[in-house]
């Protein structure tokens, strides 16, 4: 990995949601869903990282942790050198101007009672941008998200706009304070296929132009490949593989990543063609398997996987959490800082 400045650093973050009560605790049932269970990674400035995984793997929870919408049960998250798990007051307010979220569902992310102008003004008010400057900034950001005829939209209400337009407004709202860091949580999954490309292109373009550090959460490898140079694959609250997207697609290492790549329906000349048979359903997240959480669906599982949780192994530019690659750690190729 090229040595650039780290913007976001996640160290052993866990997010456990308590479930059940006294009765289920007495029956020996699990007391928490481990939505995020000890993940570590670093986001470098200007980097665009895909967070990939199936439903319930903890990718949205991870995004919420990154933006301090939830506080981790355990572990630390630092943003630009500052531990955001403990900040409040003025420091939190400053953080809110620098880290933003692009919502999954644009139809719900805007209060139906407010005009577009009011929706876009809210972050400006909170950042204490003088009133005189607001209108100009609104127009600038509308240009940025390719809604140049701003006057036509600003006095309308969200229900009067189309999904693609709304998602651009949601994006505009996230970008209006010119943040350093943006988390996009499946920003096109609620949109018609016909407008997805437009929104994605705006996202790519804006990211490049503003030099944003971005996390793109998705279950769709093809989309992640389109917007992100690096990809982190998650499974049941843990990271299974982390590395450059192209490497990951061309030569997936972890059995789960192999299955994901094989599952992409579009035939592609430079991807493996042998689909990997893995079990259909993910296990109950309340009660994940011991050791490696993927072992009950993994065709390569062996005895050790049931006992020991695989740590990160470095393979080239990648980190893989799988016992198959444990030996790689000792190879001379393994340079840099093992997490």
């Amino acid at each position: 990995m090229t040595e650039t400045e780290a913007l976001v650093r996640v160290e052993g973050a866990r997010l456990h949601y308590p479930i059940g009560g006294i009765v289920s605790a007495m029956r020996g049932l699990p007391s928490a869903v481990k939505a995020v269970d000890g993940i570590s990674f670093t986001l470098h400035r200007g980097e665009s990282v895909g967070l990939l995984g199936e439903s319930g793997c903890g990718k949205t929870s991870t995004g919420r942790l990154l933006l301090k919408l939830d506080d981790p049960t355990d572990g630390h998250i630092t943003f630009d050198g500052e531990d955001i798990t403990t900040i409040r007051g003025e420091a939190l307010r400053r953080f809110r101007t620098r880290a933003q979220l692009i919502f999954q569902n644009p139809f719900e992310a805007l209060n139906p009672r407010f005009t577009i102008r009011a929706a876009l003004s809210e972050p400006l008010e909170n950042a204490r941008i003088p009133r005189a400057e607001r209108e100009a900034r609104i127009h600038r950001v509308m240009d940025l998200v390719r809604l140049p005829d701003a006057a036509q939209f600003l006095d309308r209400y969200p229900h009067q706009l189309s999904g693609g337009q709304l998602q651009r407004i949601v994006m505009a709202r996230a970008l209006i304070l010119e943040p350093d860091f943006v988390v996009a949580d499946e920003p096109v999954s609620m949109l018609d296929v016909s407008v997805r490309a437009g929104v994605l292109n705006v996202f790519r373009e804006v990211r490049a132009r503003m030099g944003l550090t971005a996390v793109y959460i998705s279950h769709d490898l093809a989309l992640v490949r389109y917007v992100c140079e690096r990809t982190i694959v998650m499974y049941l609250g843990r990271i299974v593989e982390d590395g450059p997207t192209e490497d990951l697609v061309r030569e997936p290492l972890h059995p789960y990543t192999k299955a994901l790549v094989a599952a992409v329906p579009v035939p592609h000349p430079d991807q493996s063609h042998d689909p990997l048979p893995i079990g259909r359903g993910a296990p109950d997240p309340r009660n994940p398997p011991s050791g490696c959480s993927f072992r009950d669906r993994c065709p390569m599982a062996h005895a050790r996987c049931a006992v020991e949780e695989p740590g990160p192994s470095r393979v080239g530019q990648r980190l893989v959490h799988c016992h198959l690659y444990d030996q790689a750690d000792t190879r001379p190729a393994a340079r840099g800082t093992p997490a």
Binding site: L67, L69, R93, R96, T97, A99, Q100, L101, F103, N105, E108, A109, L110, N111, R113, T115, R117, E122, P123, N126, A127, E135, A151, D155, V170, R173, A174, L177
Partner: protein, 299 residues
């Protein structure tokens, strides 16, 4: 866009009124509003409408006590009481205390209930636990005996009813508004407001309260009826304020003077009717709000 401020301001006003959302689509609710309007006019102009001082003891021309006169007799529109007071004037002045009690009590109930509900629902945690256990305590206190005890400790006054309602009847409003807030809190746009840096107070005022207001009005309009009924009950039981004329006081006075055996229907039927009218008007209005809130209730 020559003047961007004007349309925005108009929109804000319109939104403020839309937030109030009087239920003008339902005929019964309109009837309720009309009844209220009529009583409000009567209450405001009570000194002009009333023909006599409601507490003045009246005499006939031949210096006899003007007691138990029938309606129309000696020019008394609705007759007089056993003590020689004008029933019509009492009825007119009674609307004043009824409305004052009803509206202040409703305001207190809606205000306290809404604040408790929004705070408990939005912040959750121990704040929620504390406030909801308080609501449980309020649910455990029997209402009418509590008002009587309060009247015993304080001076008998029409405000006892208001105080008692403020202390106890916020419980239903608080519970319902809390549950509404719980669902609103998880809306994506509330989360979006938080990410854009809005403080809790701002989120509550901007994104939660406008959605909770119709429910507050619903419970407020129910509380009006409750307050008037309670005041009437308290006065009828004799724990009311003897110096202020209310419909409940009129009923108590008539009851104590054996008006029924004297067949003085003109004395106790009108205040009874007024209570029925204004209480049911309150329920009609609340029904209208219910229709706004839960449109699917309509068959």
């Amino acid at each position: 866009m020559t003047n961007p401020d004007t349309p925005r301001r108009a929109g804000r006003l319109r939104r403020a009124f839309a937030g109030l959302r009087l239920p003008l689509h339902d005929p019964l609710a309109i009837a309720g509003l009309a009844i209220y309007a009529a009583f409000i006019v009567i209450a405001i102009f009570a000194p002009q409408i009333a023909t006599h001082d409601p507490t003045e003891i009246l005499f006939t021309d031949d210096f006899q006590l003007a007691a138990d006169l029938r309606p129309g007799e000696d020019g008394y529109i609705m007759g007089t009481t056993t003590l020689g007071r004008d029933v019509f004037s009492q009825l007119v002045w009674g609307s004043r205390s009824a409305l004052v009690i009803g509206l202040t009590a409703a305001f207190m109930v809606a205000l306290i209930g809404s604040i408790v509900g929004v705070v408990a629902g939005y912040f959750g945690g121990w704040t929620d636990t504390l406030l909801m256990r308080l609501a449980d305590v309020a649910f455990g206190i029997p209402f009418l005996p509590f008002v009587i005890v309060l009247a015993a400790f304080l001076e008998p006054s029409i405000w006892n009813v208001v105080i008692a309602m403020a202390l106890i009847l916020w419980r239903d409003t608080g519970r319902v508004i809390r549950s509404q807030t719980l669902t609103l809190r998880t809306r994506a746009y509330v989360e979006a407001a938080r990410i854009s840096g809005s403080s809790d107070v701002k989120i509550i005022l901007r994104h939660i309260v406008p959605n909770v207001l119709p429910l507050s009005f619903l419970y407020g309009s129910i509380a009006i009826g409750w307050a008037i009924l309670t005041e009437a009950s308290i006065s009828f039981l004799g724990f009311g304020d003897p110096t202020s004329i209310s419909w409940g006081y009129m009923l108590q006075d008539a009851y104590a003077s054996q008006a029924l055996s004297k067949r003085s229907y003109y004395w106790f039927v009108p205040p009874g009717l007024c209570i029925i009218l204004i209480v049911s008007a309150g329920f009609f209005i609340s029904r209208g709000y219910e229709k706004i809130l839960f449109p699917k209730l309509d068959r």
